[in-house]
């Protein structure tokens, strides 16, 4: 059996920045401000911080604790760790979702990441062709046309036709960078990169923030200035607090933003040592994410867009529309806009690559563990699967249906499902008291006792409610769009597209592969004498070598 070099973090700061890097992504700068502005402005921060303190941070602590505990048992992959914590094969196979999510999300995320690199390059070399002297509508059309052409949204296979292949170069470069850093390993690759990239992102974000806050008022519309831009983002609309959707949106934003239920934290924490502090580390990683989201994301995107385009340029744009339609028009108007645009998209690229690296690592760990192969061989397998899956997303770009379907089902719905099973495994199978005791080992600070109640009752109830409401509202429509010819959306238009079905078949194939690998792994782990069902205390019986050896 191949001998793999033992992986691990080089420093405590390194693992914190790696987890924070995983959490800080495009959503911090593009999704959060849109959500806040649409759901009550400043008033949105009430449910938002409630969700952070009562859901995000506690569930994060549970994941950190489960991960480190699984690592002490010699495991680093979500299926194996969930099997140990949940004490049996049911949770082991549920844990497959913890590999499925990062892998499938990586398929399209690396594509979006390559847009950021491409836009960065375009701004360095003169912009994307938005004429600042043209009427505002024309500028918006120019930005939108460039984005649609650059990302091949016109039809499937467009990126492989003549004159549209620019993004493929950036995709290849992005893919190569990701695979290189993951191949280098946790400490030399991911940790080293994050220790450089996170401070760089903070410095760039601070620079862009200062530029935005010192922008002059719009000459044609003097009422559109920094003050009214901030007002659009922050003036509270308390009426929104009476709407349950606001509370769900706030919890959803916290959830997706912190990377909980993603299968990443549990993997990263499994490389920590027994007395490494998971409580303070988890809190610090969450705090870093919040700094980028509220401190930078909340102050830059919406105010800048409002000054140049007013509320009409923001409403209904969505995450990617705001980033790739609206902001290019803003940069065209802004003095020194090309430089600020280049910095902005480079920062988004850094945010995206620190996240995408974290999506490959759980699969790497799983392949190594299940097959007992070396990191080199695991890299080759993971790279092949990643290129194939991402290649699918590159081909089926028409109307973003191909990767959009994966995002809906895997990147949105399954995250909540995995988080639910994780808190049930932690709170009900492992035991809250035992879990908190385990978390406190080596901890500088104690988790407040009421968090046990939150983890056992509040979080599962909230997540189950979300799953039910979410499934009721979306799954039928999603299924119809993918598999029911002639299916009509809420607007009465036919929205059936077979590509959605292909995407779900792709996800199903990957799921079956991961389940088979888990079965192979279980046989290996049992043969190696590892405690796959978490029946023994970790300190007395486990061999020093891990499952991947």
């Amino acid at each position: 059996m191949a001998q793999a070099a033992k992986d691990g973090w080089g420093s405590r700061l390194g693992v914190i920045l790696a987890v924070a890097g995983s959490a800080v992504g495009l959503g911090n700068f593009l999704r959060f401000p849109g959500q806040a502005a649409a759901n009550g402005g400043g008033a949105f921060m009430i449910p938002y911080f409630c969700a952070l303190l009562l859901l995000g941070i506690p569930i994060g602590w549970a994941e950190w604790t489960m991960g480190r505990y699984g690592g002490r048992k010699g495991f680093h992959s979500a299926p194996a760790i969930m099997g140990v914590v949940g004490k049996g094969s049911f949770f082991r196979y549920v844990g497959v979702i913890g590999v499925l999510i990062p892998l499938c999300v990586y398929f399209y995320y690396v594509f979006i990441e390559s847009w950021c690199l491409g836009y960065f390059f375009k701004y360095l070399t003169g912009g994307i062709g938005v004429d600042p002297n043209a009427p505002m509508n024309t500028q918006a059309t120019q930005a939108s046309s460039f984005w649609q052409s650059f990302t091949g949204q016109g039809k499937d296979g467009e990126l492989f036709s003549a004159g549209h292949g620019g993004v493929l170069v950036f995709w290849l470069l992005t893919m190569a960078l990701n695979i290189w850093f993951v191949f280098r390993g946790l400490s030399k690759g991911i940790e080293t990169f994050c220790k450089w990239a996170m401070p760089a992102m903070a410095v760039i974000a601070l620079g862009v923030l200062i530029r935005v806050l010192t922008l002059p008022a719009n000459e044609l519309h003097p009422d559109q200035n920094v003050g009214t831009g901030l007002a659009y983002m922050w003036n509270p609309d308390f009426s929104k607090l009476g709407d349950s959707k606001t509370w769900l949106a706030a919890a959803g934003q916290i959830f997706f933003s912190l990377s909980v239920g993603f299968g990443v934290i549990i993997n990263y924490a499994s490389y920590m040592k027994r007395r490494d502090d998971v409580v303070q580390s988890g809190l610090t990683a969450s705090a870093t994410n919040e700094l980028f989201e509220v401190g930078f994301g909340g102050m830059i995107t919406i105010p800048a867009a409002f000054i140049f385009m007013g509320a009409t340029g923001i409403i209904g744009q969505g995450t990617f529309g705001l980033g790739f339609n609206t902001l290019p028009v803003v940069f065209a108007q802004m003095p020194g806009g090309n430089l600020i645009g280049a910095l902005w998209f480079f920062m988004l690229f850094l945010a995206a690559i620190t996240s995408s690296l974290s999506m490959l690592q759980p699969t790497m760990a799983f392949i190594q563990e299940a097959l007992g192969c070396s990191r080199q061989r695991a890299t080759a397998i993971v790279a092949s699967v990643a290129v194939a899956g991402s290649g699918y997303c590159l081909w089926f770009t028409g109307g973003t249906v191909g990767w959009g379907t994966i995002d809906d089902w895997v990147g949105t719905f399954l995250i909540v499902v995995l988080a639910f099973f994780q808190v049930v495994a932690f709170g009900w199978c492992f035991g809250v008291k035992r879990g908190l005791d385990e978390a406190h080992e080596g901890a500088q600070m104690r988790i407040p006792a009421f968090m046990g109640f939150v983890l056992k009752f509040v979080a599962p109830a909230y997540l189950l409610t979300s799953i039910v409401l979410f499934a009721k509202d979306n799954l039928g429509a999603w299924w119809g769009k993918a598999f029911v010819p002639g299916h009509r959306g809420a607007d009465g238009q036919v929205d059936y597209n077979p590509v959605g079905g292909y995407s779900l078949i792709l996800v199903a194939v990957v799921t079956v592969g991961l389940i088979l690998l888990t079965r192979i792994g279980v046989k290996r782990w049992k043969a190696a004498g590892l405690d796959v069902d978490g029946e023994r205390p970790p300190d007395e019986t486990e061999p020093a070598t891990g499952a991947g050896r």
Binding site: K6, S11, R12, L13, I16, G41, G42, A43, M45, F49, G71, R72, K73, G74, G227, T228, L230, A231, Y232, M233, W234, N235, P236, D237, F238, S239, K240, L241, G242, K273, R274, R275, D276, D277, Q280, S281, L283, T284, A287, T288, E290, L291, E293, V294, G295, G298, M299, G310, A311, G442, Q444, M445, F450, F453, P538, D539, E542, P543, A544, G546
Partner: protein, 96 residues
């Protein structure tokens, strides 16, 4: 025997008190949520959309408090992390 019964009774009483306390906490949370929702719904009827306006006092307050919270929490956390050396575990993984 009597001492044992007393202890058992005490434990049962403490358990009941804890259960009662949990119920009280749950009731308080539920009431607070209901009250918040009711107040917000009441305000909703008279609310005016606060878009395209100057930054209001409440807007400044929410923005300042939010920024203070996230910056303060991040700085406090990093100060603690950087001022405390990592605990090194001399033994191999899986050993005490």
């Amino acid at each position: 025997m009597r001492r044992h019964e007393t202890a058992t009774g005490l434990r049962a009483a403490i358990g009941a008190t804890r259960r009662g306390a949990r119920r009280v906490v749950a009731a308080v949370i539920a009431t607070a949520l209901f009250a918040t929702t009711a107040v917000a719904q009441e305000q909703a009827s008279a609310a005016v959309p606060a878009k395209a306006q100057e930054l209001s006092g409440a807007g400044i307050a929410f923005m300042t408090l939010s920024l203070l919270f996230v910056w303060g929490l991040a700085l406090w956390c990093f100060k603690r992390v950087l001022s405390t050396p990592s605990v090194t575990d001399p033994g191999p993984a899986g050993r005490p």
